[in-house]
């Protein structure tokens, strides 16, 4: 199960999506994180908590992905999660 670390606010600012640190994350000097539309969708799922396979499935449905699209979707999702992990935003 993947989950977004608590203490972050997802907000649209001037057409961009931003994860703002709040509370203890601010004290720890965490930076804001900018995400694109696809990233925003993943972050919203992570706020609820989701398994990796389920995350792929909901995206495949949303983007009407074909079977050929799935490997790229998996790779892109994995890359995005690795970026969140690097920032300390991902709970696994």
């Amino acid at each position: 199960m993947y989950r977004l670390k608590e203490g972050y606010l997802l907000k649209e600012v001037a057409g961009e999506y931003v994860l703002f640190p709040t509370g203890q994350s601010v004290v720890e000097g965490k930076n804001i994180v900018r995400v694109n539309e696809a990233g925003k969708y993943i972050v919203e799922r992570l706020q609820e908590g989701i398994e990796f396979n389920a995350l792929i499935n909901v995206q495949a449905k949303k983007y009407e992905a074909t079977q050929e699209d799935i490997p790229k979707l998996v790779a892109d999702t994995d890359f995005f999660l690795s970026k969140l992990r690097l920032q300390g935003l991902l709970i696994e």
Binding site: V13, P21, G23
Partner: protein
Amino acid sequence: MSMKKVYRIAEVYLEIEGDESCFCDTMCEFETEAPADAEKVRIVLAAGEVTVPVQEELLHTEEMTIYGTEEEYLMRYRRSEVIAGCRIQKQEESAVIYIKQTVGNDEEISGAIRNIFFYYLQKRGKMVVHSASILYKGKVWLFSAPSGTGKTSHVAMWKECGYPVEDFNGDMAICYIDEKGQAAAAGLPWCGTSGIYRNMIAPLGGVIFLKRGNNNSVRKPNVFEGIMQLTARSLTPNWDEACVKRNVQLAEELAEKISVGVLSCTYEEKAAEVSKQFIDGL
């Protein structure tokens, strides 16, 4: 002896009640009398210890731990010999500062009052921006940057160049959209260690964000960058999601109404010349 004083800061009445030894001299300039029906932020300075029931810990620093519930925030001071903690109501504009001892400790108490007042300012749609500010041609201009970047030095350069400026505040300014929909800046009795503050409200011209560089140049950031810079330099609380959301909203509203610049600057007088040209050209 217990007493009650009322201050007016950025159009907000602040009533403080407590022992006379707790009151801070620098706030005198803001003292006033409030109309009977005025809505006030009320802070009581009371003797006693703060008790922590089961509440969510929002953050902790070396100095304090902040807890939150639906109804209130609770600050527990970890090191202070003066203050035990604070209880801050979310709905009513009412707070208590629990004092351990009072004599000659007005600076720490002033800091606690500031923390609480900034929370209620934020709830009233006002943001405090970390900056050295000047009054120039009838408007307030903020030079904002992280500590140590040279905000004070930059303001000093304006004076050394002989530009017609007056000090507004050496460390922070309250920024907001007033009842007429205009951006305004208000002085406040807190100013870091600068000693520079004044009781005044004036139109807010804009904010120049300073960055140290090898040459002097200024540019207009895009809307997104302007909002993010303002949010980053805000001194109003970011204790939880509600606070951060309000800060970002205030930054969005302000960014629509004011001029914003990013100044790459040196410690030479040329830097003041470049920022003045930018402001004059707006």
